[in-house]
Symmetry: C2
Subunit: 204 residues, 2 copies
Amino acid sequence: MQAMAEYSSILLENAVEALSKLPGIGKKTALRLALHLLNEDNVQTEQLADALLKMKHNIMLCERCYNISDTKICSICSNPRRDENTLCVVADMRDVLAIEHTAAYNGLYHVLGGVISPIEGIAPKDLKIEELVQRVQTEDIREIILALPATIEGDTTNFYIYRQLKDFKGKVTVIAKGIAVGDTLEYVDEITLGRSIQNRTAFN
Amino acid sequence: MQAMAEYSSILLENAVEALSKLPGIGKKTALRLALHLLNEDNVQTEQLADALLKMKHNIMLCERCYNISDTKICSICSNPRRDENTLCVVADMRDVLAIEHTAAYNGLYHVLGGVISPIEGIAPKDLKIEELVQRVQTEDIREIILALPATIEGDTTNFYIYRQLKDFKGKVTVIAKGIAVGDTLEYVDEITLGRSIQNRTAFN
């Protein structure tokens, strides 16, 4: 009854309720979105609903790298122009997107699905680490780049993976930590600045 | 092909595309929303899609006040506890929500569907003004409150409606213009401040 009194339409109320469950969408924004859809052609709402349902029902994890994919093997893994000898280990599929956007990497990925975190109850067995070890044994990989978050959990996971890969004959590297491009030194935290001095590279 | 390279999933790409057509939702936010839905149970996506489709396909305008409604006559018009002698004329259904939230009004509404605007090509015939005039003739209305936006278009519409209602024997009022509650005078624009002095009320 309260809901009807508020919106004069339980259908609108339900739509606002469902939209406001999305992260960062409050009741006011949800109402704005619902009223926008009401003002537009049916086709916009139908396309939105259809796209969300198809995504939710049909998307899968790539059987090789565990990135999300429409097919059993994702478009990156099946792309013959990618360098199959280099493997970048990331925590999350968002990290794949971020690295792809840099256009600085042309190898393959391995998505762990998170990092080791005792506080959040994420153990090594919850991540695709065992799959990484197996993959390294069967594929011709020469370098593994660890691109995990620069956090304690990320460092712990890096260390754990490094120990699991003790039989790996290739290179294991981690992405560089240092000051961001565009940073002025006075605002950089001392740990990052210290690392950027320790890990200085030749000027050329 | 570019899209596949970007997201490794055309299904995700389509969902992001559909979400980013919503007002105020950019590509990054759309991606965040899509990934959130991917992480949640199927039921959340299904409820969202279902609520949006049901709203879009089944919502209608109340035949009496032209507010959006699930039924031919909306819950406000059919509520016996509302004062049927007072009619508040608003531009948009959002204005009904705003006034309902004040809990300062217990009468009925008439939703015009906009205001007269030659620039946007909105003429009196595009609004529910004729329906208002007819309604006033058949219902026992004693006061009409004009609650349109305090803009030139709103004033024009007020004036047009006032002339159309020349045979109406009851009161026609407009909502008060003045400084907002909490305002300090120095930041109020001079037109509003001038109006608030002209329209001063007895102190009690």
